[in-house]
């Protein structure tokens, strides 16, 4: 199966181990989620001003897939409007379900394009995104 090579590619491992997105943000809103079955945990921090994500970061613990996905999320949503972030999230969900999606919106995250075929790992992949989804609901309207 090729997906293994992709999931554990240098790119993914680099993202997973990249310390730059991993910190607490002071004065930011935050939320967390945990995958009880494997213990993976992500807390996301967002600073939203005038409907724009001014800064984002995360702290957490988990497998390469969950950590790389969170790290890519932070990179993808920084400086984007809430509207754009919602569109990104929609496309992430489409990719996860194996539906057509807009590759241009997802940047390096497309390395996970095969995730829909690996139900055992899609939970890991989606963990940070599920936190984001909850947070978007609470920042509704900026």
């Amino acid at each position: 199966m090729d997906w293994m090579k992709e999931i554990y590619s240098d790119l993914v491992v680099r993202y997973a181990k990249d310390p730059s997105a991993r910190k607490e943000l002071e004065g930011a809103i935050s939320a967390r989620d945990k995958n009880e079955s494997c213990g993976d945990e992500v807390r996301l921090f967002l600073k939203v001003e005038d409907g724009i994500v001014k800064d984002a970061s995360f702290i957490g613990e988990g497998c390469i897939v969950s950590m790389a996905s969170a790290s890519m999320l932070v990179k993808l949503i920084k400086d984007k409007s809430i509207e754009d972030v919602k569109k990104i999230l929609e496309n992430v969900e489409k990719m996860m379900k194996g539906e057509e999606y807009d590759e241009d919106m997802l940047g390096d995250l497309v390395v996970f394009s095969g995730i829909s075929g690996i139900p055992a790992r899609s939970k890991c992949f989606y963990l940070a995104w599920s936190v984001l989804k909850d947070m978007l609901q609470s920042v509704q309207g900026g």
């Binding site: 554990y8 491992v13 079955s37 494997c38 213990g39 993976d40 945990e41 390469i64 790992r121």
Partner: protein, 396 residues
């Protein structure tokens, strides 16, 4: 007896080290089940036709064989759906029979599988309280600590062999002290019965639970041993067809044990498969099973100790049988298992192993677990070790 022939999966080149979750099934077990369905299928008890008589006989013979495997009498062996249902049944029956009641204390340990924890938590609503013996930070239980916690306890429910650390508990020592104090003893034998010879007539325990699927048998069947002393006094856990003596619209009387405890059509084919599994283990020899398990565990511990990037949990000595839990430093267990599977065809289990309290004690959210059985070889351990080195290099 030829392992390669009996276990066709071995020819797939997969190194199966997830035996604590469930074991593979030899042809003899699969044949016994399909033979029943093909030629002897009927419901048991009360039938006067040939097939029903055959099925009843096969079911009862299976009970005899499984019972004798643990040194019990036939009537002391109740078929259940597995260890989890055995412990639920037992705990509920102890309440209904008022053996446990408001104020009773049940003693457990911090390493128990959730299946030997939640059924007892359920009794809190009846005023039963739980007391726990803690392990050390490696998940190791100290028998003396168990003995020192026995004051005022009504029942001890204890694993015979930890499904996380592989620690075999010195039951003789614990049971002797419990009996001196008149304490009832239930052993969760899900991991112990498959790997070491158990004789309840010598061990002097009151109750024992185990599952067929962890000892070469099918899923969906297990057993609860209840010492004959209690059979008449204990209330059934399930009621309905198949366990009655006389029924009126308002009330009923029950038939004799063990049928009293087996309401409804049981898993007949499962019982037959279970008996075929114990037949296989008997002809292989439980002493040989234990020898292989111990050797592989010892070898795995030696080899893993050589890897400075691996943390091992549990006693790490001869107390450990058939199970080794570990982590690769800085690498999540899921990643370890994925790479081992994909690159080395090595199957291990990762996660909390239904023992979240113990994970907290170990200070981790999950571990990797390799577990052995009679068809495993030293080369399997070598492949695991080779795979771990690769994991370390790749993402460690």
């Amino acid at each position: 007896m030829n392992l390669e022939e009996d276990f066709p999966f071995l020819n797939r080149g997969i190194v199966y080290l997830d035996n604590a979750a469930t074991t593979q099934k030899p042809n003899q077990v699969i044949e016994a089940i399909s033979n029943f369905y093909r030629y002897h299928n009927a419901n048991i008890h009360r039938g006067v036709h040939t097939l029903s008589i055959e099925a009843t006989e096969m079911y009862e013979k299976s009970r005899e064989r499984v019972a004798s495997f643990i040194g019990a009498k036939s009537k002391e062996l109740i078929f259940t759906y597995g260890t989890t249902s055995s412990i639920n049944f037992l705990s509920q029956s102890l309440i209904k029979s008022e053996v446990l009641k408001e104020g009773s204390i049940v003693l457990l340990t911090a390493v128990e599988h959730h299946s030997n924890l939640l059924p007892w938590q359920n009794l809190k609503r009846y005023g039963v309280s739980l007391k726990f013996v803690d392990s050390d930070e490696n998940g190791v239980l100290d028998e003396d600590k168990i003995i020192n916690s026995m004051e005022n306890v009504s029942l001890i429910s204890l694993t015979g062999l930890s499904n996380v650390t592989g620690q075999r508990i010195d039951l003789e020592k614990v049971v002797k002290e419990a009996k001196k104090r008149g304490i009832l003893v239930h052993i969760d034998g899900a991991q112990m019965v498959p790997h070491v010879k158990v004789d309840v007539s010598k061990l002097d325990i009151d109750f024992l639970s185990f599952s067929a699927h962890k000892m070469l048998g099918p899923t969906g069947i297990g057993a609860l041993y209840i010492n004959e002393k209690y059979l008449d006094a204990f209330e059934p856990f399930l009621v309905g067809g198949g366990m009655i003596d006389r029924v009126t619209l308002e009330s009923s009387t029950f038939t004799n044990p063990p049928e009293k405890f087996e309401a409804g059509t049981p898993n007949i084919a499962g019982a037959i498969g279970f008996a075929a599994a114990v037949d296989y283990l008997n002809s292989f020899g439980m002493e040989n099973v234990e020898k292989i398990d111990r050797e592989l565990t010892k070898y795995a511990l030696e080899e893993l100790k050589k890897l400075d990037f691996v943390d091992i949990y549990g006693p790490k000595d001869e107390r450990q049988v058939s199970i080794v839990s570990f982590n690769v430093k800085g690498v999540h267990p899921h990643d370890v298992a994925s790479i081992l599977d994909e690159e080395y065809k090595v199957a291990i289990r990762t996660g909390h192993h239904c023992a979240q309290p113990l994970m907290r004690k170990l200070g981790v959210s999950a571990t990797c677990r390799a577990s052995f059985y009679l068809y495993n070889k030293k080369e399997d351990v070598d492949r695991l070790v080779e795979g771990l080195k690769r994991v370390k290099k790749w993402i460690g």
